[in-house]
């Protein structure tokens, strides 16, 4: 399977700051998702973004499939943005839909 690496592993911000989370993957993909894990453990879908750029409020994401990376941007961060952010990818050769996950970025936003 493909390798998915996320950076940084930990990020601490003051409320109002902007941040960029990175996801690198080792092979061609045809599915790339970003998730936020809330304090109760549920994975919330943020973006389904195999390529291109999408925006949703203060969050946006860009995937450059040819260069094998994706970025998640958080602007004007709020304390409710705290939690773990996961990137997950499905390799192009797979037809069964399984995702490979990175280890996550632990984001802490202080008031």
């Amino acid at each position: 399977g493909i390798q998915v690496e996320q950076s940084p592993p930990d990020l601490i911000l003051q409320e109002g700051a902007n941040s960029t989370l990175r996801c690198n993957f080792s092979d061609s993909v045809n599915n790339l998702q970003w998730f936020h894990q809330n304090p109760w453990g549920q994975l919330i879908n943020l973006f389904y973004i195999p390529s291109g750029t999408k925006q949703n409020g203060r969050l946006s994401a860009t995937t450059v499939a040819t260069e094998r990376y994706s970025l998640l941007y958080i602007s004007s961060s709020q304390t409710t943005d705290s939690g773990v952010y996961f990137c997950a990818a499905r390799d192009r050769g797979s037809t069964l839909g399984r995702l490979y996950f990175g280890r996550g970025t632990q984001l802490t936003v202080w008031p």
Partner: protein, 111 residues
């Protein structure tokens, strides 16, 4: 909206007990997945299913089995629970290789 539900949010069992974790999705997805999440190890795939009565081993199937008798329901079975199976269990579903959606998770403690 896609809804994935899991039978319990918290579960406490004793070593040697047979444990059933149930997952139900309401969007007619053919693919369903069971993951476990442990601190420092991220999400690891246990089993997945791409059709009724079909199953595939993931990365850590040892000590687990699964059952998929109906399209909407995917069960994870711990035949004889052990303390090293204490973990957070997450179920997910997807339509083919498209966006994957997760349930709220079950925190299982085996004493």
């Amino acid at each position: 909206d896609v809804k994935v539900t899991q039978s319990s949010r918290y579960l406490v069992k004793r070593t040697g007990e047979k444990v059933f974790l149930e997952c139900v999705q309401d969007m007619d997805h053919e693919n369903m997945f069971w993951y476990r999440q442990d601190p420092g190890l991220g999400l690891r795939l246990i089993y997945f299913s791409y059709d009724v009565k079909m199953k595939e081993k993931g990365d850590i199937p040892e000590g687990y089995s699964v059952s998929r008798e109906k399209k909407e329901r995917f069960s994870l079975i711990l035949e004889s629970a052990s303390t090293n199976q204490t973990s957070m269990y997450l179920c997910a579903s997807s339509l083919g290789g498209s966006e994957q959606f997760f349930g709220p998770g079950t925190r299982l403690t085996v004493l």
